[in-house]
Amino acid sequence: MPLTREEVVRLADIYHIQLSEEEVAKMQHDMENILEQFESLSQLNTDGVEPTSHAVPMATVMRKDEPVPSYPHDAVMGNAPDTEGEFFQVRTVLED
C-alpha cells in the first residue's frame, strides 16, 4: 500500500502533531508495512453485515439528574501547566 510523504504530513497536520523530517520518513515506511497487513480484510464479503462498535450490546444508560459535588476548583487547576487566576492560560489562538 503506497503512502506518500505528503500524505503522512497531511495526517500529522490533521492531528496537530509535529513530526521531524526523520520521523516522517520512518512513519511513511512503518505505516506502509502495517497498512499492507490490513489488505486481507478486503477479501472478506461483509455485504449486509452490521458493524459492531461495542462487543457487549447495551442500550443507552439513563440515570437521575441529581447534583453531586464537583472536585475542588483549585485542586483541578493544580494539574494545569499554566493558569491565571481561575483560568487555564493558553497562547494566542487567533493570529492577526
Binding site: Q37, V49, R63, N79, R91
Partner: protein
C-alpha cells in the same frame, strides 16, 4: 517459603491466624523489592510510606478481629489506573507529573478490602505495546531471564508478581496486555468479560476493547481479586448492570463432562514446537480430569489482527486528542500560538509507538478511508464475534496457546512494529469479541514459561476459572518461582 513468594489465600490464612503480621508481610515484600528491583524494574513509582501505613492499619483491624478478603496483602497497580494523590504516568512523559484527584473505581473497590499498595506498575506507554520496552522511563526485565522482555503492556505487573515484588497486581488488557505478559512471566492473568469490571479512572486507550483484570500467582487468587473488582458502576456507561457471583465458589475442581474446543487456527504456522508440545500435554491433563476434547475451526482468526490494528489505533487517536498541553500533563510552553503549543506538546510528550498508532488511527478515520478501513473492521468484528458465539454453542470453553513463542529478547522486535504486533496474534480475538479469557502457566522451554488460554462465552468467568483451577490442582507449573537476587 519466603513470605514474598506466597499466594493471597496463603497470606490470608497466615494473617488471620496471626502467624504473621501484615507489617511483617509488607516488610518481606519491601525487602524483596530492594534486592531485585534494580534488575527487574517492574515499578514506575514505589509507595513504601503508603504501604507501611496500610499494613499498620491492617494489623490494627486484624488485632481487633476485623478481617476483609484482601486485608494486609501487598499489591501493585498498573500505572494506567488513577490513584488519588499518587502520580499516575501511563509510563509517558505526557503524564510524568500527573497526580489524579480521585481513585479509579477498581482502586476504590480494592481499598475497601484492605490490601497494601506497594506502588505503580511499569508498562508500555499508554498501554501500547507487547514488551514494556515502550515505557518512556525504563524497560522491565523478565524475572525468568533478565535479557528477555516480560511481555506487555502490563509487563511491570506480570514481572512484579513473578519476582515476588507484590502478591498480586491489577493490569489492563486491550489486545492481550494482561494474558501475554502473564504467559511470558509464568503467572495467572485474567481478562474478564467487557463490562464486568468498571473502567472509570482507567486512562483510556481503546475504549471498546479495554478491560481491567488481575495478575496473580494462581487461579484461586484470581477469583479473590475478581470478587473485589467486579461490579456495576454508574460512572462507566459500559458497565454491565446486576450482581456478580462469588467467583471462589465456582472453583470446585470438577470439570467432568465439560466440552472443550481446540481451534486448529491457534496451532498453525509460527507456533514454537515447545509451546505446541506443552499445550498438547495441558489439553491431555484436562481430558484426564474428565473433559471432552474436540478439535474445531475458527477460520476468521487470522483476520483479527488486522481488525484490531485498525480499531485500536482509531479509538486511541480519538482518546489521546485530550492531551493538548492545556488542562493537565506536559506542555511545550515555549510556542508562539495555541496550535503550535499543541503540536509541540504532542511531539515531545508522546513516544514513537504512540505517535505511530495516532497516525494509523487518523488515517483509518480520515475521509476517503473510513469505509475501507474503520467501517470494514467493525463489520469483520461482527463476523468474528458470531464465529465465537457459534463455537460456544458447541463448547463450554476453548483452549489455545497464549503466545506463539516464549519471551523474546529485549531489543529483538523494537525496530519492526509488524513483528511486534504479531506477538499478540493469539490474544487479540478475545478482545474483539469481548469475551473472558484466563492465561495460566502450562510448562517451560529452556527455562522460560509457556502460557495456556481458557476462553469462554461472555460472563462465563466461573466456568473458565474452574477449568483453570482444575488444571492447577493437577499440575505445579504455577508454583514455580524464578531464581533472582
Amino acid at each position: 517459603m519466603e513470605h514474598y513468594n506466597i499466594t493471597i489465600h496463603e497470606a490470608r490464612a497466615l494473617l488471620e491466624s496471626r502467624q504473621i503480621s501484615a507489617t511483617e508481610l509488607t516488610e518481606s515484600v519491601l525487602g524483596r523489592i530492594d534486592s531485585v528491583e534494580p534488575q527487574v524494574q517492574a515499578y514506575v513509582t514505589l509507595t513504601e510510606d503508603v504501604a507501611r501505613e496500610a499494613a499498620a492499619a491492617a494489623d490494627k483491624d486484624l488485632s481487633a478481629g476485623t478481617t476483609t478478603p484482601l486485608i494486609g496483602v501487598p499489591m501493585q497497580i498498573k500505572d494506567v489506573m488513577s490513584t488519588k494523590g499518587i502520580r499516575t504516568t501511563c509510563s509517558s512523559r505526557m503524564l510524568e507529573n500527573f497526580v489524579p484527584l480521585y481513585d479509579a473505581t477498581v482502586v476504590e473497590r480494592l481499598y475497601a478490602q484492605g490490601p497494601v499498595l506497594m506502588g505503580k506498575g511499569n508498562m508500555d506507554e499508554f498501554a501500547m505495546g507487547s514488551s514494556t520496552e515502550n515505557s518512556a522511563f525504563h524497560p522491565t526485565h523478565n524475572p525468568w531471564g533478565l535479557d528477555r522482555v516480560p511481555g506487555g503492556s502490563s509487563g511491570g505487573s506480570a514481572a512484579a508478581v513473578a519476582a515476588g515484588e507484590c502478591l498480586f497486581a491489577l493490569g489492563s488488557d486491550t489486545g492481550g496486555s494482561i494474558r501475554q505478559p502473564a504467559a511470558l512471566c509464568g503467572v495467572t492473568g485474567l481478562k474478564p468479560t467487557y463490562g464486568l469490571v468498571s473502567r472509570f479512572g482507567l486512562v483510556a486507550f481503546a475504549s471498546s476493547l479495554d478491560q481491567i483484570g488481575p495478575l496473580t500467582k494462581d487461579v484461586e487468587d484470581s477469583a479473590l481479586v475478581l470478587n473485589a473488582i467486579a461490579g456495576y458502576d454508574p460512572r462507566d456507561s459500559t458497565s454491565i448492570p446486576g450482581e456478580r457471583p462469588d467467583y471462589t465458589k465456582a472453583l470446585t475442581g470438577d470439570i467432568k463432562g465439560l466440552r472443550l474446543g481446540i481451534p486448529k487456527e491457534y496451532f498453525g504456522d509460527g507456533l514454537d514446537p515447545a509451546v505446541d508440545a506443552a499445550l498438547r500435554q495441558g489439553i491431555k491433563t484436562l481430558e484426564d480430569a474428565g473433559a471432552f476434547v474436540e478439535e474445531c475451526s475458527l477460520p476468521l482468526t487470522s483476520y483479527a489482527l488486522a481488525v484490531y490494528y485498525i480499531i485500536a489505533p482509531s479509538e486511541c487517536s480519538t482518546n489521546l486528542s485530550r492531551f493538548d498541553g492545556v488542562k493537565y500533563g506536559f506542555s511545550a510552553g515555549d510556542a508562539a500560538t495555541a496550535w503550535e503549543t499543541q503540536e509541540r506538546t504532542r511531539a515531545l510528550g508522546f513516544g514513537p509507538e504512540v505517535k505511530r498508532r495516532i497516525m494509523l488511527g487518523t488515517y483509518a478515520l480520515s475521509a476517503g478511508y473510513y469505509d475501507a478501513y474503520y467501517l470494514k473492521a467493525l463489520k469483520v468484528r461482527t463476523l468474528i464475534k458470531q464465529e465465537f458465539e457459534e463455537a460456544f454453542q458447541r463448547f463450554d470453553a476453548l483452549i489455545t496457546p497464549t503466545t506463539p513463542t516464549t519471551a523474546f529478547r529485549i531489543g529483538e522486535k523494537t525496530n519492526d512494529p509488524v513483528s511486534m504486533y504479531r506477538s499478540d496474534v493469539l490474544t487479540i480475538p478475545v478482545n474483539i469479541a469481548g469475551i473472558p479469557c484466563v492465561s495460566i502457566p502450562c510448562g517451560f522451554s529452556e527455562g522460560l514459561p509457556i502460557g495456556m488460554q481458557v476462553m469462554g462465552k461472555a460472563l462465563s468467568e466461573e466456568t473458565i476459572l474452574n477449568i483453570a483451577y482444575t488444571y492447577q490442582q493437577a499440575t505445579d507449573w504455577h508454583t514455580k518461582r524464578p531464581t533472582l537476587g
